[in-house]
């Protein structure tokens, strides 16, 4: 057994120290040691993106990064998106646009979309689909995820937003 190493990083703004074997994957540290169980595991070949977290301003599949590589990093997981109990525009958007069903890909989708909108605040539909292509979803068929990212992008740009989803509009009206 290789010797354990202490790793320090900032997780959603909180200084965090963990002791890990070098082989421990960041996704396992986040879920099992830090109890941030929003990021999920959907594959073992680095395809699905369910484990996506933001590392130093980059969207990273945390199943393909060692925790020891996160030394001094700034990490953002889905748990860090809402501020003061208020949903982030993206979380509101996924709800309003019905951009999730089982919710398993959602934490990864949200964190990836968060970085996409930082880099491209007004993406076209094509840019959204290309920019989200590292994240697989089994439920939605992606259509409403695209709408959700568009909704959030408009809201973050300060525009008035309304849901495009007929049932959600009815709910909001009551």
């Amino acid at each position: 057994m290789s010797k354990k190493i202490m790793v320090s990083f900032k997780l959603n703004g909180t200084q965090t120290d963990v002791v890990v074997e070098p082989r421990e994957l960041l996704i396992h540290t986040l879920r099992e040691k830090c109890l941030h169980t929003g990021p999920h595991i959907g594959c073992e070949t680095s395809h699905c993106g369910a484990c996506t977290v933001d590392v130093n301003g980059m969207s990273v599949k945390s199943c393909t990064m060692l925790t020891v590589q996160a030394e001094e990093a700034e990490l953002l997981t889905v748990e860090g998106l809402a501020k003061g109990g208020e949903l982030h525009a993206l979380q509101e958007a996924f709800m309003q646009e019905h951009g999730l069903q089982c919710g398993f890909c959602t934490p990864g989708m949200l964190i990836r979309a968060y970085r996409l909108l930082q880099e491209n605040p007004n993406p076209s539909e094509e840019e959204i689909r290309y920019g989200m292509s590292g994240n697989l979803c089994r439920c939605t068929g992606y259509q409403n995820i695209v709408k959700a990212v568009q909704y959030a992008s408009a809201k973050l740009r300060g525009e008035t937003v309304t849901t495009s989803h007929p049932l959600m509009a009815e709910v909001s009206a009551h």
């Binding site: 057994m1 290789s2 010797k3 190493i5 074997e21 070098p22 082989r23 994957l25 595991i41 073992e44 070949t45 680095s46 395809h47 993106g49 996506t52 980059m58 969207s59 990273v60 599949k61 199943c63 393909t64 990064m65 060692l66 020891v68 590589q69 030394e71 990836r112 996409l116 290309y130 920019g131 989200m132 292509s133 590292g134």
Partner: protein
């Protein structure tokens, strides 16, 4: 999913990295972006005893022009290639290629040096590098040497990198103004390796081909230069007939492996089709 245990090292200088690499010999592996190595370790195809992480070597990052060369640090990520102003202006082929590699998350981590050093015939950079006439700086205990991309790739996962050497830099002669280029890649979905792909760099002299390079991805043990096809085009107009002949000659050198992406016949035919498309697009982009 679970790799075997190993010892982890984070050198702060290139000299330290080389010294560690020599100390641990063939039980050590260099860790760059980690998006080929860690997946192999998670499936226990690779079981190194030591990982030497190059992540803190900022000296291996960056893109700059030196004289008539573009120099790219080996640890420069795919995402950094795509965002590079220098490459947008001077070497758009590399951006077109990088945009077709994997997905956004992987491109934030995966590096150009790792893509090349891995020696996987499915990777795209080996082909792009040969098409761009690049060379690689390899540094070891006894100093550095510069090796041409054309000839660097020896077979599946085999390159001219010697034990104890680290690829530090990629050098690309700045393409002449008016050079047309294209990377045409057939894949089953975004993020997949090519079923077949072709990179073309092309210079026209009025109506005839002054110079051309045609390089194929994933249709042999390693990236493959279609020399006979290039030869057949030099001095000729790039009309349908000559493009078809070049595609036929490119197909004649293919030796693809049969797998879930298709059988030998299909991949060979697709290498021909990608060659046709890459030549036509490169022609449209070239200044005559």
């Amino acid at each position: 999913m679970i790799p075997r245990p190993f010892e982890y090292h984070v050198p702060r200088t290139l000299a330290e990295a080389i010294s560690l690499l020599n100390q641990y010999g063939d039980t050590a592996k260099l860790l760059a972006g980690g998006h080929s190595l860690l997946p192999m370790m998670k499936l226990r195809f690779a079981e190194p005893g030591h990982l030497i992480d190059l992540g803190k070597l900022t000296e291996l990052k960056g893109i700059r022009e030196v004289g008539d060369e573009i120099r790219i640090g080996a640890m420069t990520t795919e995402n950094e290639l795509i965002g590079s102003k220098v490459l947008q202006e001077k070497c758009p082929l590399l951006i077109e290629g990088a945009r077709q590699i994997s997905d956004p998350q992987v491109r934030y981590r995966g590096t150009i040096g790792g893509d090349i050093s891995h020696g996987d015939p499915g990777n795209d950079h080996p082909t792009l590098m040969i098409a761009l006439d690049a060379s690689f700086v390899l540094v070891g205990e006894h100093g550095e040497r510069v090796v041409a991309a054309d000839g660097f790739f020896l077979g599946t996962y085999m390159t001219q990198l010697e034990p104890g050497e680290i690829m530090t830099e990629i050098r690309i002669p700045t393409p002449a103004a008016g050079t047309g280029c294209c990377y045409a890649k057939l894949k089953r979905k975004t993020g997949d390796f090519a079923t077949a792909a072709t990179a073309v760099t092309l210079r026209m002299n009025r109506e005839v081909v002054a110079d051309v390079r045609i390089v194929l991805t994933n249709v042999a043990q390693c990236s493959l230069r279609a020399l006979a096809a290039e030869q057949a085009l030099r001095g000729k107009p790039l009309d349908d007939e000559h493009i078809a002949e070049a595609a036929r000659l490119a197909m004649s050198v293919c030796e693809p492996a049969e797998d879930l992406r298709g059988d030998i016949e299909y991949k060979t035919a697709m290498a021909g089709e990608m060659t046709r498309r890459a030549l036509s697009t490169a022609l449209a982009r070239a200044t005559h």
